[in-house]
C-alpha cells in the first residue's frame, strides 16, 4: 500500500505543470518549453533557498524565474508569432545549458546545491506549496469557466479573431496565460527541488515537463482532470517502484509503464475533439 499522501507529493510537480499547461493551451499556446522552465525553477529554488537561508525566497525565486523564462518564450511565440514548437525546443536547450553551466561554475567553486532549507509543514508531509495545489487547480478550473477572463482566454484559444472583435487583446490574454503557465511551472519545479528533495541536480526534471504536456491531452483540457491524470501517473510511478524486484519483468518495463499507460489511454479516449480550435497557431492581428 502506498500512502495517498506520497502519491500526491510526488505527482505534485506534474500536476502543477499540467494545470499551468492546461491554462496555456486553453489560450491557444502550446508550451513545449515547459521542461526547461521547470528546470530553471528547480535551480532557482535551491540556489536562492541556500543563498538566503529562506525557503520562501527560494520558492519566490523559482516562480519569478519561471514566469520570466515563460514570458521570454511568449515574446517569441505570441508577440513575434514564431513557431511554438521550435521556440519551446530552444527554451529547453537554453534552460538545460543555463542551469548546467551555473551548476558547473558553482561546483568549480566548491558550492553544493543540496541541503536547502525546507518549507514548514502545515500538516505532516504537507507544506504550503502542496496545500496550494488543490487550491490553485480549483482556482484554475473556476477561473477558466466562471470568470470573464476565462471566457475570453478560452475564446483566444478557439477563435482569436472573435476575441479581438469583442475588444480584448489576444496577445495580452495569451501572454497572461503564458505567465500563469510559468507560475505553475515555477511552483512545480520549485516543489520538485526544494519541496521534495531540497537539492538540485543537472537535468533533474528528467522529462516531467514533457509528460505534463501529454497529461493535458489526457486530462481533456480540464484542470481537475489534469490533476487526476497526474495522480494516476504518480500512482503508477509508485506502483512501479514498489513492484520492482517482486516481479520477473525487467525494470525497464516498469519505468516505461507511466508513458505506456498515458499513450494507451489517449488511444482509447480517442478523438481529441476537445482540443482548442486554435491550439498551436500563432495569431497575427490584421491591420
Amino acid at each position: 500500500m502506498i500512502p495517498l499522501l506520497l502519491i500526491a507529493q510526488y505527482s505534485a510537480p506534474l500536476a502543477f505543470a499540467a494545470t499551468g499547461e492546461t491554462i496555456g493551451q486553453k489560450s491557444g499556446v502550446l508550451n513545449i518549453g515547459l521542461e526547461g522552465i521547470m528546470l530553471l525553477a528547480a535551480y532557482a529554488s535551491v540556489s536562492v533557498g541556500l543563498a538566503t537561508g529562506s525557503p520562501w525566497m527560494g520558492m519566490l525565486a523559482a516562480i519569478a524565474c519561471a514566469i520570466a523564462l515563460s514570458l521570454i518564450q511568449g515574446f517569441f511565440t505570441i508577440i513575434l508569432a514564431t513557431d511554438q514548437v521550435v521556440a519551446g525546443t530552444a527554451v529547453n536547450l537554453f534552460a538545460l545549458g543555463l542551469t548546467g553551466t551555473l551548476f558547473a561554475l558553482g561546483a568549480a567553486k566548491g558550492e553544493s546545491l543540496s541541503g536547502a532549507p525546507r518549507l514548514p509543514e502545515m500538516l505532516p508531509g504537507v507544506d504550503p506549496v502542496l496545500l496550494l495545489l488543490p487550491i490553485l487547480v480549483g482556482c484554475a478550473a473556476w477561473g477558466l469557466t466562471k470568470t470573464a477572463f476565462g471566457l475570453a482566454l478560452r475564446a483566444a484559444g478557439e477563435y482569436p479573431a472573435a476575441v479581438e472583435s469583442a475588444g480584448f487583446s489576444v496577445t495580452k490574454l495569451r501572454l497572461i496565460a503564458q505567465g500563469l503557465n510559468g507560475l505553475f511551472a515555477g511552483l512545480g519545479g520549485g516543489y520538485l527541488a526544494l519541496g521534495l528533495v531540497q537539492a538540485f541536480a543537472e537535468n533533474m526534471t528528467s522529462g516531467r515537463g514533457f509528460v505534463a504536456i501529454a497529461l493535458v491531452t489526457f486530462g481533456r483540457w480540464k484542470p481537475w482532470w489534469a490533476l487526476g491524470a497526474s495522480l494516476l501517473i504518480g500512482a503508477l510511478e509508485w506502483a512501479q517502484v514498489a513492484m520492482q524486484g517482486k516481479s520477473p519483468l525487467p525494470i525497464q518495463f516498469f519505468t516505461a509503464l507511466p508513458y505506456l499507460v498515458a499513450l494507451i489511454v489517449l488511444v482509447i479516449a480517442g478523438k481529441g475533439t476537445m482540443a482548442p480550435g486554435a491550439l498551436g497557431l500563432a495569431y497575427r492581428r490584421e491591420k
Partner: protein, 345 residues
C-alpha cells in the same frame, strides 16, 4: 540576381549575428569570449580533424533534420525524431545480432535498411493514431521518445546484450560491416554521403514529384486536399513514415558508421536538435544542409571547448538555445518588414 545578393547578405548578417551571440554568451559567464569563439571555430574548421568532426556531427543532424522537414511540410509535427533515431539504431543492432557473423559485407546495407524500417514504422503508427484515433502526433511522439529509450535499455540488458553478457552494450560490429571510412585519421565515414544524397532526394521528392506536391498541399491545407481527392490521411501517414525512416536512418548511420555498437549513451538528442535544424533550414531540404553543418560545427567546435573549459559541456545547449531564439526572432522581424508581395491592379 538581386534576390541572390539579398539572400547572401541576409546569410552573412545571420552568421555575424550568430557569432555575436556566441561572443556574448561567453562574456556573460565570465569566460574569455575571444578564446571561446576561437576555440569553437578552430575545433570545427581548424584542420582536417575539425572539419571531419563537423561533418560527422552534421550527418545525423542532417538526416533527422530532413525527417522533420518532410513531416512538418505535411503538417505533422513529429517531435519524435529522438525515439525514431534510437529505434533506427535498435533495428540495425537487431539485424546484426540476427545474422550473427554471416555475410558481414552485406550487413552494412542491411543495417541501414532495418534502421529505416524501424523508424518508419513507429512514425507511421503515430500518424495512424492521429488520423484514425485523433491522438495528436505532437503528444504521441513525445511519449514514444521515452518508450524507445526504455526499450533500448531493456534490449541492451537482454536480447541484444554482447556475447560475454558482462556489459550492457551490443557486440561491436566487425570492421567489414561498418560504413566505409575516409581515413584512419578521423571518424569521417560514408554517412555524410548518404545524408547529402538523402537531402537531394528529399528535395527532388518534395519539389519535382507529384507525390511531393501532394504532400505539400496536404500540409498547407488538408481540407483543400481532401476536396480535390488527394487522400490527405494516406499522404500524412506516408510523410510520417518517410520522416521516421530518415530519423531511423540517422540512428542506423551513426551505429554503423560511428559507434559500431549500441550502449545506454547512444541517444545524444540529435532527434531533438533536428527540429531547430530543420526550421533554421526554413523547412527546405537544401537549406537544411547548411543549417545542419552550422549545428554540426557548433557541436564539433564545442568538443574542443569541452577539452579546455570546465563549462564546455553545458555551455553548448545554452548557446544553441540562444542561437535558435535569436535566429527565429531575427527571421520573423525581417519577414515583418518585408513588403507583402501584392498583385493589385
Amino acid at each position: 540576381m538581386k534576390q541572390a545578393v539579398r539572400l547572401g547578405l541576409q546569410g552573412l548578417a545571420i552568421m555575424a549575428g550568430l557569432v555575436a551571440v556566441l561572443f556574448l554568451t561567453f562574456a556573460a559567464f565570465g569566460q574569455d569570449p575571444v578564446f571561446g569563439v576561437r576555440t569553437i571555430f578552430l575545433g570545427a574548421f581548424g584542420d582536417a580533424q575539425g572539419i571531419s568532426r563537423t561533418l560527422v556531427r552534421a550527418t545525423p543532424l542532417l538526416l533527422a533534420g530532413l525527417g522533420v522537414v518532410v513531416a512538418w511540410r505535411a503538417g505533422m509535427y513529429n517531435i519524435g525524431g529522438e525515439g525514431q533515431y534510437v529505434l533506427g539504431g535498435i533495428g540495425g543492432a537487431m539485424i546484426a545480432k540476427l545474422l550473427g557473423g554471416a555475410a558481414p559485407a552485406a550487413l552494412g546495407p542491411m543495417i541501414l535498411i532495418c534502421g529505416v524500417l524501424f523508424g518508419a514504422s513507429v512514425a507511421a503508427l503515430a500518424a495512424w493514431l492521429q488520423v484514425k484515433r485523433g491522438v495528436q502526433v505532437v503528444v504521441s511522439t513525445i511519449l514514444m521518445n521515452f518508450l524507445a529509450l526504455e526499450l533500448m535499455e531493456y534490449l541492451l540488458r537482454g536480447p541484444l546484450q554482447e556475447r560475454k553478457k558482462q556489459l550492457f552494450v551490443t557486440d561491436t560490429l566487425p570492421n567489414e560491416a561498418m560504413l566505409m571510412r575516409f581515413g584512419a585519421q578521423t571518424d569521417l565515414h560514408f554517412g555524410i554521403v548518404i545524408a547529402l544524397i538523402s537531402a537531394i532526394g528529399v528535395a527532388i521528392y518534395l519539389y519535382l514529384t507529384k507525390a511531393g506536391l501532394q504532400l505539400r498541399i496536404v500540409g498547407d491545407n488538408p481540407s483543400a486536399a481532401r476536396a480535390n481527392k488527394i487522400p490527405a490521411d494516406a499522404v500524412q501517414i506516408r510523410a510520417m513514415a518517410i520522416s521516421g525512416g530518415l530519423c531511423g536512418l540517422a540512428g542506423a548511420v551513426d551505429y554503423a558508421g560511428l559507434t559500431g555498437r549500441l550502449a545506454d549513451g547512444f541517444s545524444q538528442n540529435w532527434g531533438f536538435i533536428a527540429i531547430p535544424v530543420a526550421l533554421m533550414g526554413a523547412l527546405n531540404p537544401i537549406a537544411t544542409i547548411f543549417s545542419a553543418t552550422y549545428f554540426g560545427a557548433l557541436f564539433a567546435g564545442s568538443e574542443e571547448l569541452k577539452r579546455t573549459l570546465p563549462i564546455g559541456n553545458t555551455v553548448v545547449p545554452l548557446v544553441q538555445g540562444v542561437v535558435v531564439l535569436a535566429y527565429i526572432g531575427f527571421v520573423t522581424w525581417m519577414s515583418r518588414r518585408k513588403p507583402v508581395v501584392g498583385a493589385e491592379e
